[in-house]
Amino acid sequence: MDRRTFLKITGLGSAAVAAGCTSNPEKNLFTLVHAPDDMVSGQATWYASTCRECPAGCGVLAKNREGRVIKLEGNSLNPINRGKLCVRGQAALQGLYNPDRLTTCLRKTDNGLEPISFPDAEKLVRQHLERSAARGPDGIAMVTEVSGDTLLDLFRSVLSQYGSGKLRIYEPFAFESLKYAHQQVYGKACLPGFRLDRSDLLIGFGADFLETWLSPVEYARQFKTMHAVDRGKKGFFAHVSPYQSLTGLNADQWLACRPGSELSVALLLLNQMIQSGKARRLSAGFKSGIEALTSAYTFESVSVETGIAAGDLERLVQRVRSASRPLLLGSGSACQGTMDAALDLAVVILNTLDDPTLSLIDFDQRHRVEIADSRLAMETFWGRCMDSPPGLLMLHNVNPLYSASPQSKVAGALGAKETFVVAFSCYMDETAAAADLIIPIQHPLESWDVYESKQATKAIVQPVMGKFTPVAAIGDFFLKLMPEGQRPSGDYRKYMIRQLVDQGLIGTEDDWTKMMQDGGRFVADRQVSKPVLKLDRKLAAELTRRVQAVAAPDPETLNIYLAPSLRHLDGRGANRPWLSEIPDPVSLVSWQTLAWVHPDVMAANHWVDGDRVDIKTDHGEIQLPVVAYGGLDAKAIVIPMGQGHARFGRYARGRGANPVKLAGAETEPRSGAPVCRVAVRSISGAGKRQILASVSGSLDQHHRKIALTASLKSISEPEEAGNGLAMNDFPFTLPLPQGYDHHRDIYPAHEHDTYRWGMVVDLDRCIGCSACVAACYAENNVGIAGEKQIAKGREMAWIRIERYHDQDDPAKSIFLPMMCQHCDNAPCESVCPVYAPHHSKEGLNNQIYNRCIGTRFCAQNCPYKVRRFNWYDWKWPEPLQMQLNPNVTVRSKGVMEKCSFCVQRIKAAHDEAKNEKRSIRDGEVIPACVQTCPTNALYFGNLMDPDSAVRKLMNGPRAYQVMGYLNTKPAVIYLKKVVQTL
């Protein structure tokens, strides 16, 4: 054998051996081994797109690594969310990578569901289209979710090609009463934007604008713009409601009223405003009408009816009078019944009186959700489908079988024998399961579209990764349904671009590229004509009629409030495991649906947390565990919506309970909103107790200096810093050499190398929305422990939102983001026998997973209890594992983990700085939690740099360290929450 042959054979042999050694596909960190020429391995490509998890339509930037999208971050160019995302937006990835996504068309036969091919499905739909077209204009019907105009127009044109009529747009929370009120006052049933940021006083009557109301990320940001303390000033927010939602918990003052009595407070305010100078220019008819209606509402009578102290009501009125730009927000996303129409109308009139130029209402930036049909319209439609069934009913991404009352006619409509129901959906949800043909479609993160998040916005939805399922985009499917000849050439993307060109939005290729790169075309501050206000006798009469239509609240009835969920919204988020794993920030329980019950009611019934109760209303009954919650009127019970699915994949099916089963199908008569407040017929213990998947031990701080508050006055007069060793006189000890003092410290200070990373958490800005938690799960490959494990106390979150009662006023809550404090004097570091927790040169408390042997001593010794142990190997069912961040180790069983301050991002910044031969700039390293925080409550930076933002922030009088008296010298500095009273 000559040398060349030998080399050939050895080469071939080793290649064959290497090729034979295949590993499991999910273990491959790098997916694109044959990469496109412009791809740099290890460097992310970012795609701008639009979040479609709710109708708000925030802009996202999707991080694509080696062909897989691994993280969503807000698009800072998008004026709605300005670079931030909420918890649901972060979890959109788990919708994309959901292990229960449908990938084949399924046809219902007598033998169950039968897979069929896409061409067959298309043929079937076309057949039914043609057949049903013959039945006249009602032969074909279609219901879609709130979508962009391009797609809706395509649907409409397909329908009209087959002679069909109207396209229905279904959205469980369609803000009907708000639209109705706007119709009355502004003459248009629209949903204009509110400028919370420009107001100095907010009064909410239930509007849960930090959770689900219209556009939560946007309003959370605006809220903190007016509400965070700034140069000694702070806006005021009062919340009038029978229960404290997350939004209510963020109010400076919660005015707890009896169920159904919010309206009286609004009418009292109206009465007071009319009598004040603000009503001077009003028409006499309007004025007298309102006066006649509201004169009965005095402080005393309203106080008796609502249970709010008369003094508080007086102060509230005083606040409104003295505020320069007060803004009132009406009812919440979930309608409470007849009262809401009256309440919203009264609130809109109040806003108009306070602000006649409507400077706080933005008619240019109208919310997209306004195109949704009212529930009444939907019910009428379902009723018609039952009475004269269409031949074909197409459903696009809607799940009315889950989100509408069991008495709704939707079940009958979908069940009609004559109707062939086609569901276009990503998942097998309740509605899809009832369909005759299920056609899986692409997730919005895989498809092209244009979405008008706001009237003035054209946001681009674009695929953020290559196709990894065989399914088609709904747009492409509908293009194919267009009859031959009328069918536009090319795919939906081409069609969409053509539309944009036709609309004059783009002219050249470059325009399109720019629009695509920016994530859309955003227009702000356009001058639009404001509506002519119709403050006349008719309006007063309308309000009077509405108020008269409201039945006086029965003070004896228990009321169930179906609350839209911060995490699951109406239920569409329930199959994203992060959203169930992350606890509800109010009840602090994950995975389970609970009835929040007033502690007095619990005590009277001898219930304890976790006792299961049977709740019956006139419409249905459910069984679920109760939990005591102080933020309620004693006659109110709150049940968050979103769980209790009968289908919808492994993470949703059979978990929790669906309170919608308690609601009736009748709608609020004037606005057509579904009624989400139901009178309880009976509630009784079921004699069973469930272990709650609760993550909290105690909401009481036990005077341990954990979540601190200050008054506006006190922050201008800094208190004397102590210099002792006890809890109350222990000084602020920076994790820097100046934080060391030989009276307190045996060991010398660490010598850090240029950087000492630290974080500032502004409790005055944290609203508890948990977006940071979801971002952390996504960025750091944090395991999903599941309900059972969390019930055992084994949640894995690296950052968590703790809720504590204010020491001085237990009715107030403080949200405290808690993550590894990266102490300079870390108790975890000294007790590990193998140096697995290790203090880095830059002050990070590094956890070396490879070195960890799992003694768990570090976690025992951590006073902040932020260390997380891998009790098992956590599972990422395929294809969820595709979301894993390749820059972060996936931890195996038996090792400890915890927040790393996103060390991978610090490393990336180091590399960049080194390449450019400079040091890391302030603000260059942004951990995932900091990145997504909608209210900018978190800041990250170098504590050794005296000019860094974190150093400047911590110089103020609000800075403190959680349990700093333990002399751990945490590098997470908290800023006290500033509390005010009415």
Binding site: S696, G697, S698, L699, D700, Q701, H702, H703, R704, I706, M727, Q789, K792, G793, R794, E795, E802, R803, Y804, L816, M818, P827, S830, V831, C832, P833, V834, Y835, R851, C852, I853, G854, T855, R856, F857, A859, Q860, N861, P863, Y864, K865, R867, R868, F869, N870, W871, Y872, D873, K893, G894, V895, M896, M963, L966
Partner: protein
């Protein structure tokens, strides 16, 4: 009581080595099955993860460390009896010294397993060894767990050597009477003991030096174990009383275990003449003493918590007594400090039944003491949000039962195959009629 003679002692002890009956082998077999079951549980835990046990956040340490401390504690009185009382010339310890010493060695072995069972990644345990490596990774000698490794291994080494040294003359006696294979085995074990004067001289010196060496270990080992806790910041752990408190507790539990083992031993082997009631009574008296120390420690802890004015400490001790684990706390207090006081009455401490019952209760109480300390502190420490409870799982019970089986398995094998009473030391006391106080 007829006077003991050298021959009687030899006969009585060597009789215990006669071929055992069926009952013995059945017991051994059952115990072995128990060990297999425990091992199976451990294997299951290794394969699936620590999650199969009940630990959680905030209670990261559960029964594994409770049992570790429990068995280390048991191990203490063996050396106390054989070494410290030897130095004090307390003659009554002679009849039980060997059995107590044996209990020590096997209890340390059992205890030594628990840190391994506890580890999340036991297969990486060699990281704790200071072996040279490319990356200059070294164990952290600042960690109390490293102290533990050193302390426990030293203790195991010294107590085994002490135990074996003390046995040499006895092994020679057995060798002299044995035949066949047994003779050959015991010849090896006796290491050529001939009973020459020089050998006796070295033996007596060596035994004394070992006793002197082992004495500080009695104090140090459990002090070190206590530092696993006292060097943490956790309220309820971070206190200077822990070292003496743990040592007293260890001896308390060890003595109770000695009585628990001796009573059946003397009954089964008819050693009533050697292990006399007087011996047991002396142990019972010592238990009163250690019980009082332990009771003093409990009250000091509570007092200091109040005296410190530290609200975290105060809440910890309030919660221990009245919180979720109040039952466990009061089991601990009553079993460890109240029941031993009954030994103040001669009638109680001279009745075998009462001795046995109270000593078992003390063992139970001492187990709960470790439960209260280990679980009851971290479950309710600094951060109220993180408070939580812990409940052991079946896997943990399986391993715990397995460890008890292992201990009794080894102990039973020993008493039937080795001299469980030191003939040599018994003979030293014959002039005074057996066990006596000077």
């Amino acid at each position: 009581m007829t006077a003991l003679t050298y021959e009687k002692i030899d006969d009585a002890v060597i009789n215990t080595l006669s071929p055992p009956g069926k009952g013995y082998w059945v017991t051994i077999g059952l115990l072995f099955l128990g060990i297999l079951m425990g091992a199976g549980c451990w294997l299951y835990q290794i394969l699936l993860g620590i999650g199969v046990a009940g630990q959680n956040n905030p209670v990261h340490w559960g029964t594994y460390l409770i049992n570790f401390v429990f068995w280390v504690g048991i191990a203490h009185s063996g050396t106390l009896i054989s070494a410290i009382l030897h130095l004090f010339r307390a003659g009554w310890r002679n009849p039980i010294a060997r059995a107590a010493e044996t209990m020590t060695v096997f209890a340390v072995c059992t205890a030594g397993l628990y840190p391994f069972i506890h580890l999340g990644r036991v297969w990486m345990v060699f990281y704790m060894l200071p072996f040279p490596n490319q990356r200059f990774l070294w164990p952290n000698f600042q960690s109390p767990l490293m102290f533990d490794v050193v302390a426990i291994s030293t203790y195991l080494t010294v107590s085994s050597l002490f135990w074996y040294t003390g046995m040499l003359p006895d092994l020679a006696i057995i060798r002299d009477r044995a035949q066949g294979v047994r003779r050959r085995i015991f010849s090896v074990l006796a290491m050529g003991w001939t009973g020459e004067f020089e050998q006796w001289r070295h033996y007596a010196r060596g035994y004394l030096f070992f006793a002197a060496l082992a004495t500080p270990l009695v104090i140090s080992v459990h002090s070190v174990v206590s530092w696993d806790f006292a060097l943490g910041v956790v309220p309820g752990w971070h206190t200077t009383i822990f070292a003496p408190y743990f040592v007293a507790g260890a001896i308390h539990s060890g003595l109770a275990m000695v009585v628990t083992l001796m009573i059946p031993l003397r009954k089964i082997f008819n050693l009533q003449e050697i292990i006399t009631m007087k011996v047991l009574e002396q142990v019972a008296k010592t238990i009163v003493f250690t019980g009082l120390i332990v009771g003093f420690a409990y009250s000091t802890e509570v007092f200091i918590a109040w005296y410190s004015h530290n609200s975290v400490e105060m809440e910890t001790f309030r919660w221990r007594a009245f919180g979720d684990y109040a039952l466990e706390y009061w089991i601990m207090v009553v079993c460890n400090t109240v029941f031993p006081l009954f030994f103040l009455f001669k009638k109680v401490r001279t009745r075998i039944l009462w001795l046995m019952v109270i000593c078992i209760l003390v063992n139970v109480g001492m187990w709960y003491e470790r439960f209260v300390i280990i679980i009851g502190s971290v479950a309710h420490d600094f951060l109220p949000y993180a408070w939580g409870l812990y409940r052991p799982t079946l896997v943990e019970f399986g391993i715990m039962i397995g460890s008890f089986c292992l201990f009794f398995f080894l102990f039973l094998l020993f008493v039937k195959h080795m001299p469980s009473v030191s003939m040599t030391e018994m003979k030293e006391t014959v002039h005074a009629g057996g066990a006596h106080d000077h």
